[in-house]
C-alpha cells in the first residue's frame, strides 16, 4: 500500500506543481493555538511538519529557537505533539503529518513508544535532525516496519558516495538542505546552484520524492518551484512571532501567508 506521503507527491505531480510543506512548532504559542494554526495552514499546504521543541536545538536559527522556547515556556510536553496531531487528523484525514525534532526527545520517550504513539495519532513520517545516517539505521528500520517514513536528510557537504548510500536506505521522501546554514538563514546560494545539486540527487534515484528546505520564504519560493517539494519553516515561525507582537490572530495570519506561498508555486 502506498503511503499518504507518496500519494501526496503523486497528486502534486499530476497537478504539475511542487508539494508545499510547512513547519510549525507544536504548542507554539500554546497547545490550542498551534492546532488552530495547522488547521488553518492545511487548506493550502500539502504536508504538515509539526516540530516537537527542544531546549538546545543545534541545527536551528533564531526564529525556530524563539518558537521552541515559547512552546516550552508555555508548558509543552512531548505527549502534546501526539494529541495535536491526532486532533488535526480528525479534520484532515488524508493530509500527512510529519514530526520533526531532536533525538534526545525520542530517546527519552522511548523509540518504541514514540512509534506506537505516532501510529495511533496518524503520523506519517519523522525527521530527526541529529540522527544522521548511519546512526539512524536501526531506528529507520523500526519506522519502516511500522509503515512510518523516516526521512533522510542530505546536505551540500554530503559526498556523492554517501548520498547513494543514504538514498538507498531512504523511504518515500528525502530532504535536501539547500545551503550551509542553520534554519532560517538567508538564502546565500543561488537558486540555480541549489537546483543543480538537487537534480544530481534526483538522478541517483528518480523514484524518490526529494524536497528542498532552508532559506525558503515568500521571496525565494517561486525560484525553486521546479522541485518536487518545498519546505517553509522559519518564515512561518517568524510570522507567528510577529503576529503575537502585533496582537493579531496567528492562525488567521498564517493561513493567509501560506495561501500566498502556495499561489507563488502554482
Amino acid at each position: 500500500m502506498k503511503s499518504e506521503i507518496q500519494l501526496t507527491f503523486e497528486n502534486c505531480k499530476r497537478e504539475n506543481r511542487p508539494a508545499l510543506l510547512t513547519y510549525t512548532v507544536a504548542s507554539d504559542p500554546n497547545k490550542k493555538k498551534s492546532l488552530q494554526i495547522i488547521n488553518s495552514i492545511a487548506k493550502y499546504a500539502d504536508i504538515i511538519e509539526l516540530g516537537f521543541p527542544h531546549s538546545t536545538p543545534v541545527g536551528d536559527g533564531g526564529q525556530i529557537q524563539t518558537s521552541s522556547n515559547r512552546a516550552i515556556k508555555n508548558g509543552f510536553k512531548m505527549r502534546d505533539t501526539f494529541q495535536i496531531a491526532n486532533k488535526f487528523k480528525k479534520n484532515y484525514k488524508n493530509k500527512p503529518v510529519i514530526l520533526m525534532g531532536y533525538y534526545n526527545m525520542i530517546y527519552q520517550y522511548g523509540e518504541n513508544k514514540f512509534l506506537k504513539d505516532c501510529k495511533k495519532s496518524g503520523v506519517s513520517g519523522i525527521i530527526c535532525v541529529d540522527l544522521p545516517w548511519p546512526e539512524n539505521k536501526d531506528f529507520a528500520k523500526k519506522c519502516k516496519k511500522k509503515s512510518i517514513n523516516f526521512i533522510q536528510l542530505l546536505a551540500p557537504t554530503t559526498t556523492k558516495d554517501r548520498m547513494r548510500k543514504i538514498i538507498k536506505d531512504s523511504h518515500d521522501m528525502v530532504y535536501y538542505i539547500s545551503m550551509l546554514s542553520t534554519t532560517g538563514g538567508k538564502l546565500k546560494v543561488s537558486p540555480k546552484k541549489i537546483l543543480q545539486n538537487y537534480n544530481k540527487i534526483r538522478k541517483i534515484n528518480p523514484n524518490k520524492n526529494v524536497v528542498i528546505g532552508f532559506g525558503i520564504t515568500d521571496k525565494t519560493i517561486s525560484s525553486l518551484k521546479s522541485a518536487q517539494g518545498l519546505v517553509c519553516g522559519s518564515f512561518l515561525c517568524k510570522t507567528i512571532t510577529d503576529s503575537l507582537r502585533l496582537r493579531h490572530n496567528p492562525a488567521e495570519k498564517l493561513g493567509k501567508v501560506v495561501y500566498n506561498l502556495k499561489k507563488k508555486i502554482l
Binding site: H54, S55, T56, P57, V58, G59, D60, G61, Q65, N69, I72, K77, M78, Y102, Y103, N104, M105, Y107, Q108, Y109, V129, D130, L131, P132, W133, P134, E135, L153, L154, A155, P156, T157, T158, T159, R162, I177, L180, S181, T182, G185
Partner: protein, 413 residues
Amino acid sequence: MSLKIRKGIPLIDQHDKNGMWGGKFGGNFVPETLKKPIEDLENLFSKLRKDKSFIKERDYYFENYVGTPTPLIRLDNLTDHLGGAQLWAKVVSENPGTAHKVYACIVHCLIAKRAGKRYVCTDTGAGMQGKNLAMVAKKFGLKAKIFMGLRDLVRQKKNVDVMKKYGAEVVPVTSGSQTLVDAVSESMRYWVANCQDVHMVIGSTVGPSIFVKISGYSTSQISRELKVQLIEEFGKIPNKLKLLNCVGGGSSAYGFWSEFIDYDKKHVSLIGVEAGGSKKSKLHAAPLSNNSKLGVLHGAKAYCIQDNDGQIGETESLSSGLDYPSVSPLHCFLKDSGRAEYTSATDEEALNAYKLVSKLENISPSLEPSHAFATAISLAPKLSKDTILCIDSCGHSLKDSDIIKEKLGFYTE
C-alpha cells in the same frame, strides 16, 4: 559496572566504529551538514597523530610556549594544618593561558593550519577556553570567534577583556540560560553554517567523538608530566596515590588521569569532583554524582541533567567552567567501569577551600579546581600519612577575583 576498560590503549581510542565508548557513550549525533567536516577532521587527526613532524611541532610549543612541565609542589602548610594524608598540587595553571585549556588550543590550531582553515571558533564558560584560543590563534595567525553566554560574559569579564586584547571576536549568546551549554550550541550552529572555512574547537572532552578525542589527546600531556615528576620525587608511583580533579566537561580530569588509568584503583585512585551548586539550591551541575539519566547533548550520548521529556535541565554553579549539564563520555565510561569515582562540592565548600589554600599556600586556584581542593580537604584528615593526595590546580583565580571579593570580602592574588 559491567563495562571494561582495556589496558595498554589510551581511553580516547577505546571507542567503536560509531565513536561510542563502552557501546553506550559518545557518538556523533549531529546534523547531516556536519558529517563530512567531522569525517575530514577524523581522517586528518588520525594521520597527524602518526606524523613525526606534527608531534615535534606540538612538543615544541608545549615546551617553549606553555613551558612544560608545570610544577608539582608539596603543600606543606596545608598538610600540617589538616593532619593525615600528604597534599600535593600540580600547578597546571602556571602557563601563559593560566589554565589547562592551552594544550588543546595549541593542538587544534596546529590542526586548523594543516587543514588550511584560517578561522577558528569555540565556546567558553569561565572564559579560560576563550582566552586560550584567542591567545594561541593570534600566535598562529588565525582569526578567532568566541561564543560566550551573556551571564558568563558578565561574571568573567576579566577573561573577556583578555580575549579582546588578543584580537578575538567575542559573541554574546543570549539564548537559554546564557551559560556554557548555550555557548556550545551557538558555536556548533556557527560551524554548521561556516564549516568550509572554519575549524571548530570544543573547550572540553565533550561533543562529537572526534572532539572528545582531540581534547583528551591534548590534555594527556598533564599526566605524562605528572608521572615523571612523581617518580622523580618518590622513586616510583606512590603506593597510595589519589588523584583529585574537578569535572565540568572533564578535559582536565582526563588529562590528569590518562597515564594512570591502567593502574589498579587501590594503587592509584581517581576522584572527580563535580559542581554541587549552592548549598541552598536544588540545582547543580553534577550529572555523574547525582545519577542523571543518559541523554544526547551536543552530539554525544552521556549522563545529562534533563527532565523526563528530554529537555536539557538548568544548572547552577558559582564556577562558570563547571556549569555544564552533561559530561564527557570518557567520564561516563570511567564511572560505569568503576575505575573512577565521582562526588561533588558545593559553591560554599569551594569558596572555603579557596580561602584556606590561598591563605596557607603560595598558589591561588580558581573556583573550578577549588572544588577538587574542597574534597581533598575533607578527605585528608581521615587518611594515613603515607597517602598522597594530588590535586590538579588547573586554573588560576584571577578571573574569579570579582566573585571572590563579593563572596569573601577580599581578594589577594
